[in-house]
Symmetry: none
Subunit: 218 residues, 4 copies
């Protein structure tokens, strides 16, 4: 069952691989335009022009505009969480971490490049998730739920070790995610052009999380 899930995810990603040259031009153009203007305000002819293909060509490869959106967003989102859910991968979970801090650091190190490279798509995802039920369903089934399950285990593990306050798991996740996402959002979307010292910021961010979650020490 679990196996099946990661198979499905593998398939989603593999389908994304076998693309012709025109196709990848279309995808590239669509990502740029969707992320700059939003899905609804981007026309297929705009994408075609930017991709250097005929309008009809888009519809030869993607059933419709919505389908093009899903083809862009879904594989990237699954890849984003792949290290958390893929068995057999050399993931961050396969190593044993002594502290919750180490764990966080490892995740961030592992995913921060991927996020930077796929920022436009993540932006599109955040913008569009509310408006497209298809996206929401994919998201819940392939991303949110598997991810939550894995994190749940990890957090309980560190709570058992006494490193994390005994708050409800979802509160811990929410706090951690908020802080991390808040940093990445500020870093890459609100002030992408500021002069950031990424290593220092990440360390500070992790410290704030660990401090926040550390059990009363008396």
């Amino acid at each position: 069952m679990e196996q099946k899930l990661s198979d499905k995810i593998k398939k989603i990603n593999e389908e994304h691989m076998k693309v012709t040259e025109k196709q990848s031009k279309i995808i590239e153009a669509a990502i740029e335009e969707f992320s700059r203007n939003g899905y609804a305000s981007t026309s297929t002819s705009q994408i075609a022009k930017k991709a250097g293909v005929a309008e009809g060509t888009i519809f030869r490869h993607y059933k419709n505009k919505k389908n093009l959106l899903l083809s862009i967003v879904t594989p990237t989102m699954t890849k984003l969480i792949a290290p958390f859910v893929m068995d057999g991968f050399d993931t961050v979970f396969d190593k044993k971490f002594d502290t919750f801090g180490d764990f966080l650091k490892a995740i961030l190190k592992n995913r921060v490049d991927f996020i930077r490279e796929n920022l436009s798509i993540l932006k599109i995802f955040m913008q569009e998730i509310s408006f497209h039920p298809e996206l929401q369903e994919n998201y819940k089934e392939y991303i949110a739920q598997p991810l939550f399950k894995r994190l749940e285990n990890t957090i309980i593990h560190f709570q058992d070790k006494g490193q994390i306050k005994n708050l409800p798991v979802h509160t811990v996740i929410r706090f951690t995610a908020s802080t991390v996402v808040g940093f990445l959002f500020t870093r890459h979307i609100i002030y992408p052009d500021m002069n950031w010292n990424d290593d220092k910021e990440i360390e500070q961010t992790i410290n704030l999380i660990i401090n926040g979650l550390s059990p009363e020490t008396d």
Copy 2:
């Protein structure tokens, strides 16, 4: 100068007051539709139908669809931060707070109802801010800057009192805001229908922030 700003903001809000009955029906309908489908995917005829007015009536009151958006979003955003920037108001800042926790609690108590009541508009704001330069300008001038200034003072105040770690002010603000917004977002947008114990969640959230920011005690 500072006085002038709060005057401008007062004006923005007052202009929003003198509305006919049809006008407020239009606003109400637009808020609902914009927030459900997004600005670009909401048609003015849709709004007119839901408001029970002729489509032309919308354009008698708002010269543009864009203008309608701004008329909805800008006054609400200034009202949201009004307690922080208005002089002469009985704001959360006029009282002296002994601890940073008390300060946070006071803010959240003060603003949480407003946020709940204006959730749709805040959602619209978050969705559209990236796509509308006019919105961005209003936001920077009337909201982000004044708010930052006030918070900066407050945070330095509590850093001087030794309650908050000596991190850069913007880091403190980012961490605090991320955590608060992360809670509100989860509470009202991701899982609005869950059975929330608001008081307890707010307390926990504040504790996480205070813990996170508390200076090393050794």
Copy 3:
């Protein structure tokens, strides 16, 4: 019968006189806008704004937009030809002229100021005459026909005196009118801002007409 015609024309002009202050503001504004943008491209709200009245006020005084146009154009056109058709007036026709040249000079002297003052309205007339049957009917009945009749008599008179070549009357009128209108058009519409020596140009123009029409002298 003839009497009736000049009575009708008198009535048209008198009706144009009893106007309230708002009415004349509307007329003034309409003239300016119609002549600048054309009838079809001028909106009644544009006129109202420029006139400083409410949109509804226009329709209190003029049944509709078309009616406003007619109220502007028709009286002016009848006034333009009034000296030619009004009995009892001290017209250019009442004096006896020795030569066709004197006659032309007298007409031009008499009408040139009127034309200059009513240029915008004449422009509107020329633009709109093709598109409005009502205008065409008024024009034929009250302007073209009476005018032609009078000119016919005059021209036959000078042909009998041997001053004008024995061409068909309509040819003489066409040639004369073309030359005069051609001058006025160039003078006031094509190059209104050039530095014109009006007296000299008028004299030259008349000379060209007289030369053109002078019988072979051999």
Copy 4:
């Protein structure tokens, strides 16, 4: 330089050639409607219906309603004056004319059919030239200026030969053009349905011009 101009004009006309069948239906319909109702009072849906195409098809070929107008008017106007400005063409200018009368006769013979065939477009041009700056610019650059230059030379030539009164060139042109245009206008626009003897009228018109311009013979 001069070469460049005639190249540009050639290009304008050639672009007008490569038209699909639907395109020429659109043009045909637009000409008829624009000339019957005026540009502003003709709707694109009206044109589409008359052309038997979808409204959207118009905008695939002409980015604007305005652009459609220009695509109709500009090439025809340049073609109208082509014989005057095109080098290498077998124009009326290439032959030597003994008299100004022969010159006028040649021009009229040459252009009268073209005018008759393109009457609707010329009407549209005259109606719309005042309201469209783009049209005015094209007109000045490609039509009025080159035409004036050529005529100037010709007129000075005949003035030197003593056939034409020593009036300012622009006065001669104005008088000649007024008389010719006055005839054509009466012939084709005011009374198109009258029973005209074209050859006789043209001869008379030319005689009037020549007489008008002939130097005093004493």
